[in-house]
Amino acid sequence: MDQRCYGKDVPTFTVAGQTIELERDEVERKLERVLPEPLREHYVVVCSRRYPPKQVLSEVTGLDRADFTTHQARRILKRLGFTAARATPEATAPETDGPATAGPFGGRQAEALSGYAGKWVALAGPTDVLVAADTPQEVLRWLAQYERKATGGMFRVPTQPTEAEGVAPR
């Protein structure tokens, strides 16, 4: 694959023998309603969601995933300004003798959930968000489609503290 930029503003790439023009806005727009597939080793961040790089490039170009590698997809997406990183193993188990003010995970779980306010999420572990979606039905469909289990539970990340309270009237 050959990657080159022509012109001033629209990056152009050659992938699988095809020349494509791709802009960051276009990638974000096309992925707006697309849920990320399960992550393996690498991911890119698009609109606060982590996607497999090949899924992103395939979705926005229509190319077959067999026609390019993860590394190629990562390079293109990085050149468009997206953060690319390597997925790390799940965070360690909570330290139950830690300070209570930061929470049982030292604030790491709250941090991991901070981009999902108002979304339904399924967790594989305390800081491992498998999928996030606008509706619980989308989350259930995703879990069934990819045969994954939300071992850490499923819930809606609150937009305000009162949504995470009990039955008592305020």
Binding site: P104, A110, E111, A164, G166, V167
Partner: protein, 142 residues
């Protein structure tokens, strides 16, 4: 069984809540994080969960307007199978619509009747010990 509280994003510091993952009927892909609400008499869940679990709300044992989190909502009562860890129990639950909360709610009749619960808010964990009656060990689970 010990469970960590959940940490949620908060403005100044994380919001920490006592929750457990409860499986509704056979919906084993997606156990629902539920808030342990000792002030609630019964379990309360969003109505979509009944659909997802294949429960018909037309078969409701009762129907009423109830208050959840200070909001009036329409609830329908069903007996449902719930699973926590290796333990399964059958309990009443109200399925409510609309539903504006983050978690299902576990109350006295539908949860604390089946488990003795110890909270340690200082360290952010809770423990559930099953009562002797009304609860079964799920086969195949150690």
């Amino acid at each position: 069984m010990r469970f960590s509280f959940v940490e949620l994003p908060g403005e100044l510091r994380p919001l920490v809540r006592p929750v457990v993952p409860v499986q509704i009927e056979d919906l084993d892909d997606a156990p629902q994080l539920c808030l342990l609400d000792s002030g609630a008499t019964s379990n309360r869940f969003p109505a979509w969960l009944a659909d997802a679990a294949g429960l018909s709300l037309d078969d409701a044992l009762d129907e009423d307007e109830i208050v959840v989190g200070g909001t009036r909502t329409s609830g329908r009562l069903l007996q449902v199978e719930l699973t926590l860890g290796a333990y399964r129990f059958r309990a009443p639950a109200w399925f409510c619509d609309p539903w504006n909360l983050s978690f299902g709610l576990l109350g006295q009749e539908g949860f604390f009747r089946f488990f003795r619960v110890t909270f340690c808010a200082a360290e952010g964990w809770l423990e559930c010990e099953p009562e002797e009656e009304g609860i079964a060990l799920v086969s195949g689970v150690p």
